[in-house]
């Protein structure tokens, strides 16, 4: 078959298109309260997760950051032994001793890297 039958673009891609050219914004934090102002938390592997928007998000300092993740995690994922969710950028606790800037310098004089 040579022809695409259907192309559906995801909502995150559309959002990216709308925001292209703007500075990368920090995703927002929320308490994740439900309509009654309650939260529903669980813990696995030493990490706390909060139920929000039909799935689970890691809790940091009592808040969650849904905008950082492409989707919430399933219960089966967070309960898996050894599962660790990535930390949103503003949670720098694990970042001690990280050195950045070792890649990316060649692009400065050349604009994009694509061809």
């Amino acid at each position: 078959m040579k022809k695409s039958s259907s192309i559906v673009l995801g909502s995150l891609f559309v959002i990216a298109a709308a925001s292209c050219g703007q500075n990368k914004k920090e995703p927002e934090w929320t308490s994740g309260n439900d309509a009654q102002g309650r939260t529903h938390d669980t813990s696995f592997n030493g990490s706390r997760y909060r139920y929000y928007n039909n799935g689970w998000y890691p809790v940091y300092h009592g808040l969650i950051c849904p905008g950082f993740y492409s989707r919430p995690y399933y219960y089966g994922e967070i309960s898996r032994p050894g599962f660790v969710a990535p930390m949103p950028p503003s949670v720098a606790a694990g970042g001690a001793g990280v050195k950045t800037g070792g890649f990316g310098s060649s692009a400065h004089s050349s604009g994009g890297a694509g061809e």
Partner: protein
């Protein structure tokens, strides 16, 4: 060069752009269209022509892979201007058959595509992806749904990324990275992330300069600025740049901790020396133009001079009958130049089209057409949609 439209199957047809085309393509993520996208013309092909383009793409890819094997077998690192400290990494990525997503051949053709030649292989960091995969497809749905288009790029990307998931390291999440300051690179990455989403692969984004290392731990993968491990990463950033930058050597020491896509052997395929070795290994091949390093050999004063490491037509010179026809200045060329035989692509309404023929997971997957009124295809070329007629 040929003049005007020829009475052959391949045609350039002037059409009316959709009245609201700018809004439509922006909604499809094509935000870098200004001065680049042209839907006031469309290229029409026959099914037989498309079959020939597909066959040439498959054939050329096989030959390119043979060159990689030849380079590795004969340790031709110096000939390809690749630092020998990366030889083992490149060999390992090749022998391990590490995941590769995509590549784009730029092909020249005569009027009916019975003569198709490779101009170059954008194997490592190809762009023009979104417009070939998505934008021209949506255009066709409005123009004439009954027509066909050589384009299954999107489906093949999603299904191939799904396949690659089994080869990912660690937490099976995939990071995507590109340089700052390029809307085109950013949206190409965002589109690939969308494909990863649809393939069920967890994915995240960061810029190249945000990739970090934890100096206190030798046996750790590359990390985000927050210290989160990057087990897998797709980079829209060429290996020749990665290799010369500060963290380059850590690509070697961390090869079992962070998997890089595209794989390191792409540095051979995206190098213009590939053209020289294709000719050396397969002289007289119908899809391969004669090419030589640092001298025009027996090209009879008709050649295109290209830097070994070059991008978007910079430092390219077109010479015909020993006279320069066109030249782009730029900052490339310190490694030397490849001289490739000039191929006269016919003009259509004064425009010279080049076929960008896509490979997804090594399979021919579709094409996009770029045209220019000049002789050098660079960042001034314009993308036009295409379709083909059955029968």
């Amino acid at each position: 060069m040929g003049q005007g439209n020829k009475q052959t199957a391949m045609k350039r047809i002037i059409i009316d752009p959709r009245p609201d085309w700018q809004d439509k393509i922006k909604q499809q993520g094509f935000v870098f269209y200004k001065g680049y996208y042209n839907e006031s013309a469309v290229y029409e092909f026959s099914a037989a022509e498309v079959d020939r383009i597909e066959a040439a793409t498959t054939e050329l890819f096989e030959k390119c892979l043979a060159v990689v094997q030849h380079v590795i077998d004969n340790d031709l690192w110096d000939e390809f201007f690749i630092d020998r400290k990366y030889a083992d990494l490149i060999k390992w990525s090749w022998e391990n058959d590490n995941p590769a997503f995509y590549g784009r051949f730029d092909l020249a053709m005569n009027e009916d595509c019975t003569d198709i030649k490779l101009l170059e292989f954008n194997a490592d960091t190809p762009t023009s992806l979104l417009e070939a995969s998505v934008v021209q497809w949506y255009w066709l749905q409005e123009y004439n749904k009954g027509l066909d288009q050589f384009n299954s790029i999107h489906e093949k990307l999603v299904s191939h990324i799904k396949l690659c998931r089994d080869y990912l390291y660690g937490d099976l999440s995939l990071w995507f990275a590109c340089a700052r300051n390029s809307d085109e690179d950013f949206m190409t990455i965002k589109y690939l992330q969308d494909c990863a989403d649809q393939a069920g692969v967890k994915n995240y984004f960061l810029y190249m300069n945000e990739i970090g290392v934890q100096d206190s731990y030798l046996n750790t993968p590359f990390v985000t600025p927050e210290g989160y491990p990057i087990h897998n990463i797709f980079k829209l950033y060429p290996y020749e740049w990665l290799f010369r930058e500060e963290f380059g050597s850590q690509l070697v020491s961390k090869r079992d901790l962070t998997l890089w896509i595209e794989p390191a052997y792409k540095v051979i395929l995206s190098n213009k020396m590939l053209l020289v070795y294709l000719h050396k290994l397969f002289p007289g091949h119908p899809n391969i133009l004669p090419a030589y390093f640092n001298n025009p050999g027996n090209l009879g004063g008709n050649y295109v001079k290209k830097p070994v490491y070059g991008r978007e037509g910079w430092n390219v010179e077109v010479v015909k009958n020993n006279e320069t026809q066109e030249r782009n200045n730029g900052e490339y060329g310190e490694e030397g130049f490849v001289y490739q035989q000039l191929f006269d692509i016919p003009r259509f309404d004064g425009n010279i089209p080049v076929i960008g023929s896509w490979l997804i997971g090594g399979i021919s997957a579709g094409m996009g057409i770029k045209e220019t009124t000049g002789l050098i295809h660079g960042n001034m070329s314009k993308f036009c949609p295409h379709y083909f007629r059955q029968g």
